[in-house]
Subunit: 300 residues, 2 copies
């Protein structure tokens, strides 16, 4: 059993859907990814929060066995995202963003974290991802998640980061934005040309694609009847994957396909509740049982 | 080895893509479906063509072992569809439609066809699908494909047909149009309520979903780097599936999952060329090899 370092945003999310409105939920890429990874292996969290960050959210991290030595408390507001989903839950609009303490944040990785073998650079500004990676000592596997925002605003920093990681995670529209190719197979090849050995494309309800040296893997997603709030699903996916990889013997190459499937399973739970409401009540047994269900659904 | 009856449109297609233009190709739902089914089992074709239908297209049917005793020749123009695809190949626009001899056509099923056990009502007007089904004697499995046009123009006839079939095939947007539910799992349940034991939802590059009594099956699609012309892919899918089912021992329930996968494989070849150009040169070995490739890509 190895452990996972997760760096990313630790945030408050205010989320509206056509059916409900929930203010100031625990959110952020690192929160979702760390909780997801925590189902499988120990997690070292790096993040920053402000004075308004509720202590119950700190307790939630702890309850999931997440090491918070690297969670910095700064004077000011916690990063706060407000967004609204359309009826089909596929499109969302950002209503407001308060950067708060995340603005200009220089992440400091605690000494006790520096040899963590599995490094997940969850979605956030590429310069912060660089700063964390700079402080790590010989990681075994470095995976970066990102989003369209960084492709549009800090593309050079992002491209420099992509060269440094073993795996890049994007969704299908981001793969197109990054490469200019709308065919997902072609786009993954173009992303390989930018550096990473592995490219993982998230396709939401359609699953995910892994492209590695000489292989493509097509992963199914667990079919959901009801999507309550998809916020954090991508972070849960990559967190679940990394946690699974760190928990297994035999190296990441051997376990990557299963890791991706476990990632889609944790993501499916995430979508069933607002924020971390549903993920927070999930057990290892529930994950295993849903994974076996998906296995039966995809056998032929 | 059993055989498949295929009824549907036998047409001329003039297709424009951003890269190429091809007039008067062999097209129509029955042409694509019959050729696809013909890779696996004997096919009895029911259709109608006009004076302008090229004899080389009749030869193509024959070359694929398709029985054309039920291909009626009428005085007039062959059904002719002209359409244009956008750059991403997902959206297409109908430029013109000439119904020709298909208008008011009363299909006559030859006596020698009437006991065909596998009946594929490929996409066409529901009243024609009814008329063919009325003439069949105790079919083992009846599958109907359809499209948004019939949901918008002859919904009552379509709903009456849906009650009569074992399986209905639609794509994801049609499932939503038919039921009013955009969640695909919910939509399949609503379609079951309309009658069919099996509901098959085509998702293009994302594969297909089969919903049956107490099971869901999530089928992957073969990842293509280049889409030349997707016209007929859905027809190839359902044709390939029916051909496979008819070719196997043990009944359709046992073989349905594999049938769907073989359907997606034949559909993938269809997309690689205009009209039936690529499908027409495919061999059983090519289908088998691509299926094994897909198997390796989807194992975990």
């Amino acid at each position: 059993m190895s452990s996972v370092l997760v760096v990313g945003s630790t945030a408050l999310d205010s989320i509206k859907t056509p059916y409900q409105e929930n203010p100031r939920l625990l959110g952020g890429s690192a929160s979702h990814a760390a909780v997801a990874a925590g189902f499988f292996s120990p997690v070292n969290l790096v993040g920053v929060v402000g004075d308004d960050f509720p202590s119950e959210y700190v307790e939630l991290y702890k309850r999931h066995g997440i090491n918070i030595d690297g969670l910095e408390h700064k004077s000011g507001q916690t990063f706060h995202w407000s967004g609204e989903y359309e009826v089909n839950m596929n499109n969302r609009e950002t209503l407001s963003t308060i950067l708060g303490v995340i603005e200009g944040w220089q992440p400091k990785v605690p000494d006790s974290y520096k040899k963590t073998p599995y490094v997940l650079l969850a979605n956030m500004a590429p310069d912060v991802q660089h700063a964390v990676l700079d402080q790590m000592e010989n990681p075994e596997l470095v995976v970066a998640d990102t989003m369209d925002l960084w492709m549009n605003t800090t593309k050079d920093e992002l491209l420099r980061l992509i060269k440094r990681v073993d795996a890049l995670v994007v969704n299908d529209s981001e793969a197109q934005l990054l490469t200019g190719y709308d065919n997902v197979v072609v786009a993954t090849k173009k992303i390989h040309d930018l550096g990473p050995k592995y490219v993982i494309v998230k396709k939401g309800e359609h699953g995910a694609i892994l492209s590695g040296p000489n292989e493509l893997f097509i992963a199914p997603a667990y079919p959901l009847e009801k999507l309550v709030d998809p916020t954090g699903a991508g972070d849960s996916f990559v967190g679940g994957m990394m946690g699974y990889l760190a928990s297994r013997e035999g190296g990441h190459e051997k376990n990557l396909r299963k890791g991706i499937v476990y990632g889609t399973i944790v993501a499916s739970f995430c979508c069933e509740g607002f924020g971390l409401h549903r993920t927070g009540e999930v057990t290892g047994e529930m994950i295993e049982s849903r994974t076996q269900e998906l296995k039966k659904m995809s056998e032929w």
